[in-house]
């Protein structure tokens, strides 16, 4: 394993570079995954059957809250990567920790939102619209949940092992994942909620 010290640590071995490229390609596949969900959403958007439409159930407060929380977490994970680049372990852990807490609060608000939908009579079985809405939000939410565990494990590894080519590589890839989820959320916010509320 040759270590190249000219670039950042997360790019320092061949395997690390391949991991990062591979993850970018995986994100390409994820774009197709969410793209398919969005395309299906636009197809089924008006298929409300006898159930409520988006305009009737969407609430701006929790949605705005979720957006602000997730955007902030994208900022803090960026700070964590920056701290990692300047070899500042404690700051990295703090920002990574804040990111995960923000992710957790995002998830809590989303769960509240789902309970709200249940109370106003919008469940998975109500209509094609409700099914695609909850599937799209649920897929994003499942990604965030997965990310919380993944991020926690990376947190523990950095804490225990410090910055090595492996741990920095993992946390850099995790930051790509987290930013990606944020980008998807921006599309959800714009094309599902705002479009739906208009």
């Amino acid at each position: 394993m040759k270590i190249d010290n000219t670039g950042p640590l997360e790019y320092s071995t061949n395997q690390n570079q391949m991991n990062i490229l591979g993850f970018w390609i995986f994100l390409g596949a994820e774009i197709m995954l969410f793209g398919t969900l969005f395309a299906s959403y636009f197809t089924l958007e008006n298929g409300v059957g006898s159930g409520p439409s988006g305009a009737e159930v969407f609430e701006i407060t929790p949605v705005l809250l979720e957006t602000i929380i997730l955007l902030t977490s994208s900022f803090t994970i960026g700070l964590a990567t920056h701290a990692m680049r300047i070899n500042h372990k404690k700051a990295t852990l703090v920002f990574l920790g804040i990111t995960l807490l923000l992710g957790l609060s995002f998830l809590s608000v989303e769960i509240y939102e789902f309970i709200h939908y249940y109370h106003v009579g919008l469940t998975l079985q109500t209509s094609a619209f409700s099914a695609i809405l909850l599937t799209t939000l649920g897929t994003h939410g499942a990604h965030v949940t997965f990310g919380l565990f993944w991020g926690l494990f990376i947190f523990l590894q950095i804490k225990k092992r410090g910055f090595t080519p492996e741990t920095t590589n993992k946390s850099f890839i995790f930051s790509l994942y987290w930013h990606f989820l944020d980008v998807v959320w921006i599309f959800i916010f714009s094309f599902i909620y705002l479009k739906g509320m208009m």
């Binding site: 490229l21 390609i25 197709m32 398919t36 299906s40 089924l44 298929g47 998975l124 599937t135």
Partner: protein
């Protein structure tokens, strides 16, 4: 008892009971055999936990051959049932199940596995690499494919097979019309093996982009590697669509949603669209690697370099792009209006152009070449006219207005078998025969191989050309029988006869493996075909690190240059080699996926949750694991190389 009732077969027949017994006996025989010969340890250490791309490739190919026989048995049953009018060999339900499993098994579990197996074995050798970019992930891909395949194959003895066609259109595939768990099996078998395929796609793109030998620029890659790269790009962009479609299908069937229902705002055409947005690129995922194999074989056995290298690459890139723009031609008759149909009709016909370019390139490669008609070359030469006929009938089907006549008839069945069998199956047999000495260290017998080729080709023509005629006469596909007045009888009998010849061909091919294993000489050397690309620069059998010294490349035919033009492939001295460690995690995780899928099919939620926890547990274990691989010391490499050299020299 009530718990077990769900596993009963809904439409039992003596055939199914017979296969149940056969499966049970085979499994017992395998377990007893391995135990008796004390091979469990060997099997676990050398194969089940391997991360070696060559062994994974071989396991893919062996599984693909097994699936070929499963799918082939289905095919023969269908031809037998329709051989005479008003036949009662299979009833309608059983026939539905047979054509469904035939399609799925042949496309997903035979052709895909065969292709990925070939890529696994050949691509790292062709680019001068020691393994793929993510060896562990590669093993996970294989075992997920295997878990999916097994899940699909147990469906017909536990709970019932899917019966809505391999396209699985809703609402037919919904719970209203497909009441058994069969379609649930379809959803999860494809989902699990699809995840594996997606991982393969990512793995090979990174491998090809990042691990090529020094000097091998993109435009100096062998053509099979190029086709593998493009195929994997298509995989990465097409498979997520299937993932979502299958997820929605599962929700519709098991959680009462209304995605594809005709009530409560659902839209049944959404499934057809999503399926074919994946399904049409899938067709090109199958055929592009086949084109790559033909390019290698034709150039080797014409003893000429490949004609029109750049146009070959360009046309493949164009095909991959256009493969995403034609999906509507699968359902022209389902009411899109003339504008949409017109557009997709034109894009479909346009794909014939880059494909035609490739055909001419192959012909011009053979032009003035010193052609040797070996078995791989016979398959390639047979492919060109037969595939062209399939292509021309494809253009006929692309004419949207005329498609109203062809749609859902045997004409279509004849067309796509006409491109898939001479296209993909011939390529796989050509590639298998061509690379066989590299895989196993001996050649397949040429004489038996040629008999196999002729039986397959003649059988193919007799089996499928009559369907063009009955199709134009109006024989519908997927109908389990027809009356005598239709007059389809004699031609269907001819088809059955052709299918019989094809079955004999496959038996000959298997017999050839047995015969050659016993009698073929082992002194084949490292380059028995006088070939051109880098994989033939490795000794026979290939050591698990592939190349003791990284080769330096100057053209797309570096090995040929080293033989004829004095190019020096191996310049460096032997250094210690870093290799990945074996791991049992992939097979464990795939086993858990199998349990997950099986429990989900029957809605056994305890099993689903337990397996899911297990899967995430494996992933968590993986992230904390410290695995840096191992180094092979110089002395060990020298020793291995010495032995191989003695062996190869003796043999010369």
């Amino acid at each position: 008892m009530e718990f077990f009732e769900r596993f009963a077969i809904p439409h039992p027949s003596p055939l199914i009971y017979a296969s149940m017994v056969a499966i049970g006996l085979t499994m017992i025989a395998i377990v007893v055999g391995i135990t008796y010969f004390k091979k469990w340890g060997y099997l676990w250490r050398e194969w089940l936990t391997t991360v070696d791309h060559k062994r994974i490739g071989m396991m893919y190919i062996i599984s693909a051959l097994l699936m070929l026989f499963r799918g082939g048995a289905d095919a023969v049953m269908m031809r037998l049932q329709t051989a005479v009018p008003d036949n009662t060999f299979l009833d309608a339900q059983h026939y539905n199940e047979v054509f469904t499993t035939h399609g799925v098994v042949m496309i997903i579990f035979m052709a895909m596995a065969f292709i990925i197996g070939m890529m696994n074995f050949v691509v790292p050798l062709q680019i001068g690499a020691r393994d793929v970019a993510f060896p562990r992930l590669n093993a996970i891909s294989f075992w997920l494919y295997f878990a999916g395949a097994m899940l699909f194959n147990i469906s017909f003895v536990i709970g019932g097979s899917p019966d809505a066609g391999w396209t699985n259109y809703f609402p037919l595939a919904g719970t209203e019309f497909s009441e058994t768990v069969g379609v649930n099996y379809y959803m999860w078998a494809l989902q699990i093996s699809g995840i594996g395929t997606l991982m393969t796609g990512i793995n090979f793109i990174v491998t090809i982009l990042k691990m090529r030998a020094p000097g091998m620029t993109l435009m100096k890659m062998p053509m099979f590697t190029w086709s593998a790269l493009i195929t994997n790009v298509i995989i990465v962009f097409a498979f997520p669509v299937l993932t979502i479609a299958l997820l929605m299908g599962t929700l519709d069937r098991q959680f009462g949603t209304h995605f594809f229902a005709s009530t409560n705002g659902g839209m049944d055409m959404l499934w057809a669209n999503l399926f074919w947005v994946w399904g049409h690129p899938e067709v090109y995922i199958l055929i592009l690697p086949a084109f790559g194999i033909y390019s290698e074989v034709i150039s080797t056995f014409s003893q000429r370099n490949l004609y029109g290298y750049k146009s070959m690459v360009g046309s493949m890139v164009l095909i991959s792009f256009m493969s995403f723009l034609v999906w509507v031609h699968h359902f022209f008759t389902m009411g899109h209006g003339p504008l949409v149909n017109g557009i997709f009709s034109i894009t479909t016909m346009a794909i014939a152009v880059p494909t035609g370019i490739k055909i001419f390139n192959w012909l011009l490669t053979m032009w003035k070449g010193k052609i040797r008609f070996t078995v791989p070359m016979l398959y390639s030469v047979g492919f060109i006219p037969l595939f062209t006929i399939g292509g021309v009938t494809g253009v006929m089907l692309a004419i949207a207005s005329a498609d109203y006549q062809y749609h859902n008839t045997m004409f279509l069945v004849a067309h796509f078998h006409n491109v898939i069998i001479p296209g993909v199956v011939f390529a796989m047999l050509a590639g298998l025969t061509y690379w066989w000495p590299k895989m196993f260290g001996f050649m397949l017998n040429e004489r038996i191989g040629k008999w196999g080729f002729w039986f397959l080709t003649v059988g193919f023509c007799l089996a499928f050309f009559p369907m063009y005629i009955t199709g134009l006469d109006g024989q519908a596909r997927r109908m389990y029988t027809y009356s005598e007045e239709t007059g389809f009888g004699p031609l269907n009998m001819l088809s059955f006869f052709g299918a019989g010849l094809m079955a004999i061909a496959f038996i000959l091919i298997v017999y050839n493996v047995y015969y050659s294993f016993r009698y073929a000489p082992r002194n084949v050397g490292q380059d028995p075909w006088n070939a051109r690309s880098l994989e033939w620069a490795t000794p026979n059998p290939v050591p698990h690190y592939n190349f003791s010294v990284t080769p330096v490349v100057n053209s797309s035919e570096a090995f040929w240059d080293s033989k004829k033009n004095g190019h020096q492939l191996f310049k460096d001295k032997i250094d210690k080699i870093h290799m990945p460690n074996n791991s049992g995690l992939p097979i464990i995780i795939a086993g858990l996926f199998f349990v997950f899928g099986f429990s989900f099919v029957f809605g056994i939620w305890v099993g689903v949750i337990a397996a899911a926890i297990g899967i995430f547990g494996c992933m968590a274990y993986r992230t904390f694991e410290k695995d840096h691989g191992h180094y092979i010391p110089v002395e060990e490499i020298q020793e291995t190389e010495m032995k191989l050299e003695v062996r190869n020299n003796e043999n010369r």
